[in-house]
């Protein structure tokens, strides 16, 4: 029988699989794999599509997928390249000018646009100030759409006229939302949106005019990437490319965090399913020791025996993977249907990649977790046909755990695509399992000694755990992993998201006040106080450009496309402050020290900008402020909490350095909704001051956060499903033994309540141990997550002490449900087995 042809082995394996399937032998293994693949596929589909949808939403902040921005018009060949790729294109021109009526003027931010602007998102407008919003449309030729505060500032109504340069435009609608307005709202002054066709007639654009030309592009990601590659090399110094990640700092951060969440949840779900596969495969292998011994006895080689069982499992794995992929694919449709009202109408499809990745993940999990127990089938001694107590020599621990760790590592790598993070998590997981496992074994061994005089239900219940302390520890770790996942998920969903959302409190500033004249500063602050607004301090703003670093021109210090380059190609908003602003933290150097005569004044620089420009404490910076040159020495570097919607500055000067230069003031404040009349009155009282309404931006951010929360909650359902699969796979693995014991105890006269008590004790103790493990692991993981992954402050979580109780209740309940067959076992079974 040696050297059986592969085809014969395949045929034999197929017959055996069909027979096993009919007998229900492979049910648990099959469903564990289905769950693994379904989880992976559904999460893959959901994650891929949601990320794509969120990227689309984020690209609304650009109104495009990619923007070529410059202070001069894009060169014709740059436009031709994009058009040749079939990308949708729109052009906008933005500049600052005065909007005038017969009676008054107002400095305004003018934007000339052409159809089909915007390429992502929609303009929103209303027929009257604070009226009902309507999406879509564009100002036609001869028309202007203006923000409500401009109407108030100019005391003009919809239908009235407005002069932009030498062109008179009719105000046709009130502009309420502009997708790409959020990108730079610190410098906002009232917006006037006009048609590009009218631009030339204004006569404003002259050589040397300060203008921002933006060419907006939209298309398939691959084409956009291709265009980016083509144009990247031909960018002039005054041009740069913006994508969704650059579009808005807050949204960029939100996307990054959302991706971390989804991948983390995916990882937990797949790992749990892997544990379920391992438990099921163990049972599968153990129940085939006799068959393996018989085949060996009949002359089948060890390799062929192993191959035969491997083929069987592979067939099961493929069938389960296909079923799981289908289930995952269907699940994501159900999810998107459930979230219909919250997600954008158009969710991009994701192709077959997530399903294929899910199948790959399932097979990797099968190989990694099922291979070690399967290998045991090759080691079953043929003598077992005579002596059933003979068991295969156990595999080397390194091989068992090494295979599983390798599979997990591969899956983690695929999910996170971050090798460093993958290895760190993998190593952390192995170390945690070893430490916690050793701790549990130690505790169980001590318990064994204390059990000698315990009541019968305790000895029966815990006997199984104590007879094989290592196995019990492994079981507790497996259940602990489920509880850990659940706890982590709760922690992430409630606390971490709360922390995240707390960064955008409901009463976050909803207005920015820009261009407050020095003479109106005190009156403006008083008016805000009278209106009941909660206001931030008013910061002076002096526009200035960084020209030299330590005497060297900045152009020589920055690399193309870097943050430093972007910061030095435009005027920075310079300010001064005696106190460190809220949300700022000194990361190097010191806040102001008294200046010694003859020394340069101090300046504080935002840390990431400093890094990009290669600045250190002591570097000398030279600024040009309207032709006036000022030098300063860096005395501190700061980190800034950008999400706080407070005025934040890259550069803060020591007080007394810029006071002689012309400055306006900037601040933010919160005014409860329903105070529109006060805003109008404020706008009228301070016509030069621009009030920027940030409610729309906040609402958009909150909408994205709500989407992310729902996405995470959905992913958690799969984590829980995988957890339940582990629980039941674990119970299934020991069910035969439990049924035998139940039958024997019944035969010996044990009443059902005794069996119930014993099971309750066993599972409650197992659950409590699991809960203890989970509490420790969750606390450690939360610390690592807060500290390293999400960079949020960490604090201990006393509620995790409830985990052992929750574990005892949960595992106890599930254990009772999963082993009810053992409780109902007929005592006659002991005779049948004999």
């Amino acid at each position: 029988m040696n050297g059986l042809p592969l085809l014969r082995l395949c045929s034999l394996a197929l017959r055996q699989v069909v027979r096993d399937a009919r007998a229900g032998e492979l049910r648990v293994l099959f469903f564990a794999l289905v769950i693994a693949v379904a989880c992976s596929s559904a999460i893959g589909y959901f994650g891929a599509r949601l990320n794509a949808a969120m990227a689309l939403r984020a690209s609304e902040f650009l109104a495009a997928d990619l923007v070529l921005q410059g202070t001069t018009e894009a060169r014709p060949e740059q436009l031709r390249q994009g058009q040749a790729l079939g990308l949708a294109h729109a052009k906008t021109v933005e500049f600052t000018s005065v909007a005038a009526t017969d009676a008054s003027i107002q400095l305004s931010s003018i934007k000339a646009v052409e159809a089909p602007y915007p390429l992502r998102g929609q303009l929103k407008s209303s027929a009257e100030p604070y009226g009902a919003e309507q999406a879509g449309g564009l100002p036609g030729a001869g028309e202007a759409w203006v923000e409500p505060r401009l109407l108030a500032a100019l005391n003009v109504k919809v239908g009235g006229n407005l002069d932009i340069g030498t062109k008179t435009l009719r105000i046709s609608r009130v502009l309420t939302y502009e997708p790409d307005r959020a990108a730079d709202f610190y410098s906002l002054i009232p917006r006037v949106l006009m048609n590009l066709a009218d631009l030339a007639a204004t006569g404003i654009l002259q050589p040397g005019s300060r203008v921002s030309f933006r060419d907006l592009w939209r298309g398939a990601p691959a084409l956009i990437a291709q265009y980016r590659e083509q144009v990247q090399g031909s960018l002039a110094p005054n041009q740069r490319l913006l994508d969704s990640h650059d579009g808005n700092r807050q949204v960029g951060g939100a996307l990054g965090k959302a991706e971390s969440y989804l991948n983390l949840a995916s990882l937990v779900a797949v790992m749990l399913a892997g544990v379920a596969v391992a438990l099921s495969a163990n049972r599968y292998a153990a129940r085939r020791f006799d068959t393996s011994a018989l085949l060996r006895c009949l002359g089948l080689s060890r390799l062929d025996t192993l191959l035969l069982f491997s083929l069987q499992l592979t067939l099961v794995g493929l069938a389960a993977s296909l079923a799981g992929a289908l289930m995952g694919w269907l699940s994501q449709f159900a999810l998107f249907a459930l979230l219909h009202g919250l997600l954008p109408a158009s969710i991009p499809s994701a192709g077959p990649a997530p399903a294929l990745a899910g199948v790959g993940t399932g097979l990797a999990a099968l190989a990694g977790f099922a291979l070690p127990p399967l290998m045991a089938l090759g080691r079953v001694p043929p003598l077992r046909v005579l002596r059933r107590d003979l068991l295969p020599a156990p595999a080397a621990s390194w091989a068992v755990y090494g295979t599983a760790v390798l599979a997990v590592g591969l899956i983690m790598w695929r999910l996170s695509l971050d090798l460093r993070l993958t290895l760190a998590l993998l190593a952390g997981g192995v170390v945690a399992a070893l430490v916690l496992g050793a701790l549990l074994v130690g505790v169980l061994r001590r318990l064994r000694g204390a059990l000698a005089n315990a009541p019968l239900p305790w000895r029966l219940g815990l006997g199984q755990l104590l007879r094989h302390p290592t196995a019990a520890a492994g079981q507790a770790l497996a259940f602990g992993l489920i509880l850990f996942a659940m706890a982590l998920v709760v922690l992430l969903r409630t606390e971490l998201l709360d922390t995240w959302q707390q960064q955008l409190p409901k009463e976050a500033p909803n207005y920015f006040a820009v261009n407050i004249l020095p003479g109106e500063r005190d009156a403006f602050a008083q008016q805000l106080g009278a209106d009941g607004a909660r206001a931030s301090p008013l910061y002076p703003v002096v526009p200035g450009r960084l020209t030299h670093i330590d005497g060297q021109p900045v152009a020589d210090r920055v690399s193309a496309g870097s943050r430093g380059e972007r910061a030095t190609q435009r005027d920075l908003s310079l300010t001064w402050a005696a106190e460190l602003p809220a949300g700022n933290q000194i990361t190097a150097g010191q806040w102001w020290q008294p200046t010694i005569a003859g020394e340069l004044p101090g300046v504080s620089v935002e840390g990431e900008l400093a890094q990009s420009l290669g600045l250190t404490i002591g570097s000398t910076l030279t600024f040009n402020v309207g032709g006036v040159v000022r030098d300063a020495r860096i005395t501190s570097l700061r980190s800034i909490h950008w999400d706080n919607f407070q005025p934040n500055f890259f550069i803060i000067f020591q007080p007394g350095t810029l006071q002689d230069l012309p400055a306006t003031y900037l601040g933010s404040f919160y005014l409860a909704p329903g105070n529109d009349a006060r805003i109008v009155a404020l706008s009228r009282a301070f016509p030069a001051t621009t009030l920027l309404q940030v409610d729309a931006v906040l609402a958009q951010l909150r909408s994205i956060l709500a989407q992310v929360t729902l996405a995470v909650q959905f992913v958690l359902l799969f984590v829980l499903a995988a957890g339940v699969a582990v629980l039941f796979a674990g119970l299934q693995a020991t069910l035969d033994e439990r049924i035998r014991q139940g039958a024997l105890l019944r035969a010996l006269g044990a009443a059902r309540p005794l069996l119930v008590s014993a099971r309750r004790i066993e599972f409650a103790v197992l659950g409590a141990a699991s809960g203890g493990v989970a509490a420790l692991a969750t606390e450690a993981a939360s610390w690592a997550l807060y500290r390293f992954a999400l960079q949020l402050p960490w604090a201990p979580h006393p509620w995790l002490l409830l985990l052992p109780l929750a574990g005892a209740a949960l595992v106890g309940l599930a254990g009772m449900l999963g082993t009810c067959r053992a409780l109902a076992a007929s005592p006659l079974a002991v005779l049948r087995e004999a």
Binding site: D389, L456, R459, L460, G463, Q464, L466, R467, E737, Q741, L744, L745, R746, A747, L748, G749, A750, A751, R752, L754, S826, P827, L828, V830, L831, R832, E833, A834
Partner: protein, 227 residues
């Protein structure tokens, strides 16, 4: 011999099969006095274990009635039958059937604890000493040889001082020498304690050690083999 301890009247068992009901035990009656010993012999599949299960209250008959120590088993639910077994029955199985999660001492203590006896530990020590395993009290079943496991099982069977001891192929998994010693031990203890013994076996020599024998063939009782 004493009064009747085990009575079966018109006892039969049928199970549903693919082609209708299948009778695996045809109606039979028997009566066993306290302290008596009965061997049930027959080929594989003849219905020996089925009869043992019915007599011990592990299963319910399709027809007929079993009375064990004065308890009519057919009228009792499983919990009550378990209580009767705990009070009056001991078992010895072919595959020993020790609880893997309990050590030798705890396995022997088990029936006494089910019976609520406070001296279970001490009695279990004595019994294990009696079967020659006084030095193996703390050993787990897997650490014991087949013969040793069966001796623990015998000690457990006698632990609760049962009225009737049911033994299902007690030497079936043992070599002849060990089997001989085990059967000696079984009959010695049976004599010492005056227990009624019902023994299922293939082994004619073992069957001959019982006072009475009955033979089953395809579920039917064949004429008794009188000594």
């Amino acid at each position: 011999m004493g009064a009747s301890i085990l009575t079966a009247r018109n006892l039969s068992k049928a199970v549903p099969g693919t082609e209708g009901e299948l009778t695996i035990l045809h109606p039979l009656s028997l009566e066993l006095a306290a302290g008596d010993s009965l061997a049930i012999v027959g080929a594989s599949g003849s219905g020996k274990s089925t009869l043992l299960g019915l007599l011990a209250g592990l299963d319910l008959p399709s027809t007929g009635e079993v009375s064990l120590a004065g308890h009519g088993l057919a009228s009792l639910d499983e919990d009550r039958r378990a209580q009767v077994r705990a009070e009056h029955v001991g078992f010895v199985f072919q595959s020993f059937q020790l609880l893997d999660s309990l050590n030798a001492l705890e396995n022997v203590m088990l029936p006494m604890e089910l019976h609520g006896r406070a001296d279970a530990r001490e009695q279990a020590r004595l019994l294990l000493g009696r079967v020659g395993l006084g030095h193996r009290l703390g050993h787990w079943p897997r650490q014991l040889s087949g013969g040793e496991q069966q001796r623990v099982a015998i000690a457990r069977a006698f632990a609760a001082e049962p009225s009737v001891l049911f033994a299902d192929e007690p030497t079936g998994n043992l070599d002849s020498q060990t089997g001989e010693r085990i059967s000696d031990l079984l009959f010695e203890l049976n004599r010492e304690r005056g227990t009624t013994l019902v023994l299922v076996t293939h082994d004619e020599r073992l069957a001959q050690r019982c006072r009475r024998q009955i033979r089953l063939d395809a579920g039917r009782l064949v004429p008794p083999l009188e000594p």
